[in-house]
Amino acid sequence: MSVAGDILGLLKGEAQADRVVPRSGQAARLTLAVSGAMAFLAVFALALSLAAGRLADRWAGALAQSSTIRLSAPEAEMEAQTWAVLTVLEQTPGVESARALSDDEQRALLEPWFGPDLPVADLPVPRLIEIVETPAGYDAEGLRARLAAEAPGAVLDDHTRWRRPLVEAADRLRLLGWLSLALILGSTAAMITLAAQAALASNEQVLRVLRLVGARDAYIARAFVRRFTRRALTGAAVGAGLGTLAIALLPRAAAEGAFLTGLGFAGAGWLWPLAIPPLAAVTAFWATRIAAFRTLRGLR
């Protein structure tokens, strides 16, 4: 008998069997409220993890691939030094390929700042040389030393230096997000266990009478489990729904915007919150079931 099948069976309900347990007002409201609130929080933890993960992947990808050399030289030496740099790069282990950006590409890069009519050729803009590394990478210090000797106007702009901590932070953030989810799940289980125990304790006479007329433990437990599972599912559905809505309504500046505007779900990521209510239901199912059997064992 699978848990999923069990839970589906529970949700269909047996009106008759349900009624043998009185409505337990406070514990019920507590379960509903806690599941709702926890599901709401879970949506944010989930969004945080996923966004941090996307960020880490993007930055790590960029980091693995490229760095840039900025070459500033007098007009007359530009061509010669460009060749010198490319030659050095060709001989550097760990460099997969290197090429100088064309004027058009440089203009495209500068356009957001200076407008489309920038006469790149007439300006003392540095020339940019893009390096694509092999996965193993190259020795940045060694390359710097050689460049200083061969092309004094070249500056190696090594992204790794400032990006690596960012990637690490994003990775850490993703981990914290998952940890928060685990904590939320654990707290939900604890709260539902407490609520179920309170309901069971306040219904001791009901449990005793049911035992005396020959009800099996599984039957009695099911009546409680059904209640709490249903409530956790309802609460979590509402909480997850509201949380997702709140995320959807976050202002979004640019697609490639800063971290905050990137907080949210992307593509199939929007399906993740759907997993929260069933997860809450499974949690409530087990928490209540364990609490019920433990209480019943105290009765003959």
Partner: protein, 224 residues
């Protein structure tokens, strides 16, 4: 049905019942008497496994009560109708649903059960069927408890003071019900102080009288 071999029981170190040896044959009718506090209720509890013997052996339907797991205890109780002295009910359900409870917990639909209505009428509770247990008088509760005990058509009926709070006329009516059940082959054990009730029963069925006093079980003389 029930077999006791030198069974003893005590709530603390001191046994309140000892050397209980008894065989309840199928179809037999027994009364259990004894002074208040002598252990009649405790004795009945041994018979439906709410209490376990501290020594000796209690066998229920051929199985040692001490070895029954919780599910087997539940199944055994489904075969025994018990009228408890304190008549506990589910206070949130109408009395009709309480009487049908043994059916409900075994997954049977009580709604259409014609026996249920007939039984409720027999114990005189038809007008009160929709009332909740706390709204009933002591006698009404006892009648409801008896109805609940026999709704499952159990093989064995244990009744603890089933007529303690009802008038003589109702006592006879309930007794008649139990006698009819006995004639249908049910095994019956009734704890009572009421000697008149025992006499009335003896006019209808072959009833034996057991007596608990000083922690011992004995068969009382026939001359009541």
């Amino acid at each position: 049905m029930i077999d006791m071999q030198d069974a003893a029981f005590g709530y603390g170190a001191e046994p309140i019942l000892s050397d209980m040896t008894l065989r309840l044959a199928p179809g037999s009718f027994h009364f259990l008497t004894g002074p208040s506090g002598s252990g009649k209720t405790s004795f009945l509890k041994l018979c439906y496994a709410e209490l376990l013997a501290t020594a000796g052996r209690v066998t229920l339907f051929g199985e040692d009560a001490a070895t029954l797991d919780r599910d087997r205890i539940a199944l055994t109780r489904q075969r025994i109708g018990v009228v408890h002295q304190d008549c506990e009910f589910l206070d949130h359900l109408p009395i009709r649903d309480n009487i049908a409870l043994p059916l409900t917990v075994t997954g049977r639909d009580a709604g259409q059960d014609a026996n249920l209505n007939e039984l409720i009428a027999w114990v005189g509770l038809s007008p009160r069927a929709r009332a909740r247990p706390p709204e009933l008088s002591g006698g009404e509760r006892q009648r409801a408890a008896l109805a609940r005990a026999i709704i499952m058509d159990p093989d064995l009926i244990l009744a603890d003071e089933p007529t303690g709070n009802v008038d003589w006329e109702m006592s006879l009516r309930l007794l008649q019900l139990l006698c009819e059940l006995n004639k249908m082959g049910k095994t019956i054990l009734i704890a009572t102080h009421d000697l008149a009730l025992i006499r009335a029963a003896k006019a209808q069925v072959q009833a034996r009288v057991l007596r608990i006093a000083g922690g011992r079980l004995s068969t009382a003389g026939a001359d009541l």
